[in-house]
């Protein structure tokens, strides 16, 4: 018999008896399995111990390996730096040995464990190449303790410069962001503004704000006003462009729905277009903040007689390189701090988008 015959001649296939699924009528959910419990951090924190050892090594190396003579008085604060490193080592050692009993501090430090090992090793390398071996020659290179020296000796001037920079940045950034946002909404919404202003923005916007420095110092009533204008301009362009593109790309049915619900033109702009464009606006603010840092420092170096840019210039003029490094460090902390702050604000404002809403 052929296969076909087999199939044709075969008796109709019996449906297999359905396997009965147990039907549950009680609605009580199962107890939460223990797998889902918070993992307990027990015992000694090993990476912490390694980190403590590394910090100890840094301290010992700094204190007991004599600095190389370089023809002028010795580096200040060598002892203090070494002792500080040993203190960190002791603190880390205690936290590591306490393990789970170290509480919140222990839990916060744990993820940074490997950085806590790497940092002292890098510092030790830096210390060895500068103060101990003199392979990187002074005055262009300075050991870590010289930053301490600057912080202690020159904190007043450094602090004042930081305050000046912050003030200039705040004025320029806020002004540029506000004007940029308003312009972006305006050209995104109004057909006339789109026709007349948008081409201007596209043509003049990409010109680096620092290129206008000579012009600004010439026209503005004071160098501070010129710097505010330039910082504002650097912020303005990305904020305006991204706000515009955000407003222009809003889903058209958002407007239809709002219009049928009785929305006025103002309502459409403020309650539909602006919130819908907000994610883009924050990208613009982020880019604007980055651009404003760069213009800020340039303006302070060129004409404004205060601020971190001026401090850098001044330190270089006196060949006070440790001061320069200290100023750069302050600048790094300042800029990354401000960007972190911006992102925190964004996460809060856009919590609906990220899906991390808490209530």
């Amino acid at each position: 018999m052929t296969t076909a015959g087999n199939i044709l001649g075969a008796p109709p296939r019996q449906q297999p008896a359905p396997a009965r699924v147990p039907v549950r009528r009680d609605a009580r959910p199962a107890a939460i399995p223990s797998v889902l419990d918070e993992p307990a951090v027990a015992g000694v924190w090993r990476t912490g111990l390694v980190a403590a050892a590394a910090w100890l090594a840094l301290g010992v190396l700094t204190v007991w390996w004599p600095n190389r003579e370089v023809g002028f008085s010795d580096w200040n604060f060598t002892q203090e730096f070494g002792i500080g490193a040993i203190a960190v080592a002791i603190a880390l050692g205690v936290v590591a040995l306490l393990g789970a009993r170290a509480g919140r501090l222990g839990r916060k430090l744990r993820p940074a464990g490997q950085w806590l090992v790497a940092a002292p090793l890098l510092l030790a390398l830096w210390e060895a190449l500068t103060a101990k071996l003199g392979l990187l020659p002074p005055p262009f290179f300075a050991p870590p303790q010289s930053l301490l020296d600057v912080a202690v000796e020159d904190w007043a001037r450094l602090g004042l410069s930081t305050a000046h920079s912050l003030r200039l940045l705040a004025h320029g950034f806020v002004l540029g962001a506000l004007v940029g946002f308003a312009t972006g909404v305006w050209i995104g919404w109004s057909r006339i503004a789109g026709y007349w202003v948008h081409p201007l923005l596209r043509f003049l916007g990409p010109v680096p704000a620092s290129a206008l420095l000579p012009l600004a110092f010439f026209f503005a009533p004071s160098s501070y006003a010129a710097a505010v204008f330039l910082v504002g301009l650097a912020t303005f362009f990305p904020v305006a462009v991204l706000t515009w593109s955000g407003v222009a790309s809003v889903n058209k049915s958002y407007y239809d729905v709002a219009r049928t619900l009785g929305a006025t033109e103002w309502f459409l702009v403020l309650r539909v277009a602006v919130p819908a464009a907000l994610p883009q606006v924050f990208v613009g603010l982020f880019m604007g903040l980055g651009a404003s840092f760069s213009v800020l420092v340039t303006a302070e170096m060129m004409g404004v007689k205060a601020g971190l840019g001026w401090y850098l210039q001044w330190a270089q003029g006196w060949a006070a390189y440790p001061n320069m490094y200290a100023a750069l460090l302050v600048m790094a902390v300042l800029c990354s701090g401000l960007i972190t702050l911006l992102f925190k604000v964004r996460d809060r404002a856009l919590s609906w988008q990220k899906g991390t809403v808490k209530w």
Binding site: R271, P275, W352
Partner: protein, 261 residues
């Protein structure tokens, strides 16, 4: 329960007289989508427009909502010409189109807020949410809702305005079939309680017959009215009723799809 006083209001009468509509196309030329539509929606009536996709049904809804003016012809609401969108005629679209940055409560409140009534009538938002059974989700955000829940929020957002006409543009089109069946019954319920007129666009024959007093069958583009089916069954209806099956056969005949019957 919702206080019926705040919701109930007489439905609007809509007269569509000799309405034809053309679109200007991007690449030049014009495209006719509606051809001489004459239709009356009586006060409190539920009318369904049934037709093949792309035939121009949704365009007719946009004209009735006042989102666009008709090229020729006249559309009136209780004898007043419709020129612009008005909160007495609310549209529920196929996509719920909730505003993702607003909580469910704020989405429902949008109409009242837009008309400056929110401060005095906050309670109506809670009522509307209760009406669609979503009071517990007032503080949720749209991305946390299922498709059916989102569409119920869109319904609440429409109903909070006490519309005299509810314009429904395939509001259940994207829901799964189980949710859809449940929502159809809810829709009938809401309509019976609130007393608004309803104009529904759908290409689901069963849905049209289950919901509407009258089903208007439209032709391919440009849309013309090819048939009118009066569904003379009381509410709540039963899907298995033989009269519905007969009407369904008839509707499919008008649509040229009765070969599968």
């Amino acid at each position: 329960m919702v206080s019926t006083a705040s919701i109930a209001q007489a439905g609007a009468r809509i007269d569509i007289q000799a309405v034809s509509h053309w679109f200007r196309q991007q690449q030049g030329g014009v495209l006719q989508v509606l051809d001489g539509i004459d239709l009356q929606v009586r006060a409190g009536e539920f009318v369904a427009l049934l037709g093949p996709s792309g035939c121009g049904k949704s365009t007719l809804l946009r004209l009735v909502a006042g989102l666009e003016p008709a090229t020729t012809g006249r559309i009136t609401q209780d004898d007043a010409p419709i020129a612009r969108p008005d909160p007495s005629r609310i549209v529920v679209f196929q996509d719920p189109t909730l505003y993702p940055w607003r909580s469910v409560w704020d989405n429902v409140a949008l109409g009242l807020q837009a008309r400056g009534l929110l401060k005095s009538q906050r309670g109506r938002v809670d009522d509307a949410l209760a009406l669609v059974g979503l009071s517990d989700f007032a503080k949720s955000f749209p991305h946390q809702l299922s498709g059916g829940m989102a569409q119920r929020v869109a319904l609440a957002r429409a109903l909070v305005n006490d519309p005299q006409l509810l314009v429904l543009d395939e509001p259940l089109g994207k829901l799964d079939s189980l949710t859809r069946i449940a929502m159809q019954s809810e829709l009938v319920n809401l309509w019976q309680r609130a007393g608004f007129s309803a104009l529904l666009v759908t290409h689901d024959v069963e849905e049209a017959l289950f919901l509407a007093n009258r089903v208007i069958v439209l032709s391919d583009r440009p849309a013309r009215i090819t048939a009118e089916l009066v569904v003379d069954l009381p509410y709540p209806r039963h899907r298995g009723h033989p009269r519905l099956a007969a009407l369904r056969h008839e509707a499919l005949q008008h649509l040229g799809l009765d070969a599968t019957w």
